[in-house]
Amino acid sequence: MFTVKDYRDALAEGYLLASKCRRCGAVQLPPRPICPRCGSGDLESLKAPKRGRVAAYTVIHVPPSRFKGEEPYAVAIVELLEGIRVSGRMLDVSEADLKVGLEVEADVIKLGEEPLLCFRPLKRP
């Protein structure tokens, strides 16, 4: 059974851990203990692709206390596979270049002790 720790450990090693249902084939990122499509608990691990497209984004100007001083910073929801999306920090992109559809690639940086999922534009403008 996949736990949050599995995802975090994978992130710390630099990859995105997903789960794939052995019964119906549905893919979940981050991995889940139960397939939300068919209810099966028979799941295998899968490395999600690192390249995807921005599906939605924002630039945070009023941050929560843990990210105080980093504002403004961008956060995006990125689609890695059809319908498989994840949230991550956007780096190395100007507000003008950040758009829905932008091609990005995942990376993991350290924020204190914690690994942080982030994305960078695939082609530097």
């Binding site: 949050v4 995802y7 981050p30 939300p36 599906a55 939605a56 984004y57 924002t58 630039v59 945070i60 100007h61 009023v62 941050p63 929560p64 206390s65 843990r66 990210f67 105080k68 980093e70 403004p72 910073y73 956060v75 995006a76 929801i77 319908g83 999306r85 994840v86 949230s87 991550g88 920090r89 507000e95 758009k99 829905v100 559809g101 914690e114 942080l116 999922l117 982030c118």
Partner: protein, 411 residues
């Protein structure tokens, strides 16, 4: 699928929602104030001993006031003990969920009269601390940890909606301007001032003049909170409480000649994280909760005369008016811009000013919506009265849409 017996609201009351005037009050003071107003509003009178149970929506008194177990506390402070008292938590949808449980408790035959309310005392914390508490209603591990805030999630929905449908930030401004206008007519609203009057007041202080609302809204006096959402796209932080008293059809007419009947209820959940949703431009739980409520009421969106929808952010009102079926998908912004959601429009939305102007003490919001529809359907809404309102809808959302409650009321 329906209610085993009829349920009606027989009384409603609320404190003014505000960010300053309640500084010296605690959550319990606010709740008692709202409850007493609700009791007093019952036409033929009601006694505390008539109330058989209390259901109360509250998101986070634990974080805001260092006070848990608030249902028993409120029952105690109202003199309601030893009646059953239960707290329901569903983020900003807490008292909407409490309203549904109140309806079920009466429809089941267990109780004849119950009190349902909500309370949140938020201004004990700084804006930054409130931002932290509200972010707890999103997925901590997969959303908040990468930097999403609560406004940030709705901002992301806005960028997806803009991209898919060509809707614009200017259309969102129309929602804000309309809700501030309605708030200016509501003595319980936090902001009772038109956007243009705020522009003049703030402009004078800075030696700036604005030819219209849009020039003000584009100015640095309306700073970005989470792009593309600016300050006037966001509901404020508020203190307040709201309470309704519900009764079975059998006893309702003993208390009033004008009960407001529950015609349909619905509730749905969805993935906690926004990124896991089927479609980022819609709140699926709204569509599903609305379908249930419409089916139970035997009506459709075209039959709704007035609606209080969850506009925690301007984009949320646009998306809600589409998902509730008032306008085709992608046309909610255009409808707002054309004035169709104003008090005089064909689908008046948030006559009380909505969360934007009325305020949003999160756990109290669903109950406050029920208060407004109660008043609207009884013709008691004063300057903000929607003409000939006979059927009303409330739509209360938890966080980014993982919980949604819809209720339909009729005379």
């Amino acid at each position: 699928m329906g209610l085993q017996r009829g349920v009606a609201i027989i009384g409603a009351g609320m404190t003014r929602f505000h960010h300053k005037i309640h500084a010296d009050k605690t959550g319990r003071d606010l709740f008692v104030e709202a409850a007493l107003e609700a009791m007093t509003s019952v036409d033929n009178g009601i006694e505390l001993r008539d109330i058989e149970a209390l259901f109360i929506g509250n998101f986070s008194s634990d974080s805001f006031e260092h006070q848990g177990h608030v249902a028993a506390l409120m029952a105690d402070w109202l003199g309601l003990t030893p009646k059953a008292a239960t707290r329901i938590e569903a983020a900003c949808g807490s008292s909407g969920a409490a309203l549904n449980i109140g309806v079920m408790a009466i429809a089941s035959g267990l109780y004849d009269v119950v009190m349902v309310g909500g309370v949140e005392k938020m201004r004990t914390l700084t804006t930054e601390e409130v931002t932290d508490v509200l972010a707890m209603a999103s997925d901590e591990v997969y959303e908040a940890a990468v930097g999403f805030t609560f406004p940030g999630l709705y901002a992301a929905m806005a960028t997806a909606h803009f991209h898919r449908y060509g809707s614009t930030w200017e259309q969102l401004c129309a929602v804000s301007i309309k809700n501030h206008h309605n708030g200016s007519l509501n003595p319980k609203a936090q902001f009772q001032e038109e956007v243009i009057d705020i522009a003049r007041r703030l402009g004078e202080r800075r030696g700036m003049t604005f030819k219209d609302e849009m020039e003000f809204l584009r100015s640095p006096l309306n700073p970005v909170v989470a792009y593309p959402l600016r300050l006037f796209d966001c509901c404020p932080i508020s203190d307040g409480a709201a309470v309704v008293i519900m009764a079975s059809e059998e006893v309702a007419r003993k208390f009033t000649d004008t009960p407001i009947y529950v015609r349909g209820i619905g509730q749905a959940s969805d993935t906690m994280a926004l990124h896991d949703r089927e479609d980022l431009t819609t709140i699926r739980a709204t569509r599903l909760a609305a379908q249930q409520a419409y089916r139970m009421a035997g009506i459709g969106p075209e039959d709704i005369d007035v609606a209080d929808v969850h506009d925690c952010f301007t984009i949320a009102e646009v998306v809600a008016t589409e998902d509730l079926g008032f306008f085709p998908k992608g046309e909610g912004g255009k409808a707002a811009e054309e004035g169709r959601t104003s008090l005089e429009g064909d689908k008046p939305i948030n006559p009380d000013g909505g969360l934007k102007a009325k305020g949003h003490p999160v756990g109290a919001t669903g109950a406050a919506m029920a208060c407004e529809i109660f008043k609207q359907l009884r013709g008691e809404a004063g300057k903000r009265q929607v003409r000939d309102a006979e059927v009303g809808l409330i739509h209360n959302v938890g966080a980014s849409g993982a919980t949604v409650v819809v209720q339909i009321y009729g005379r």
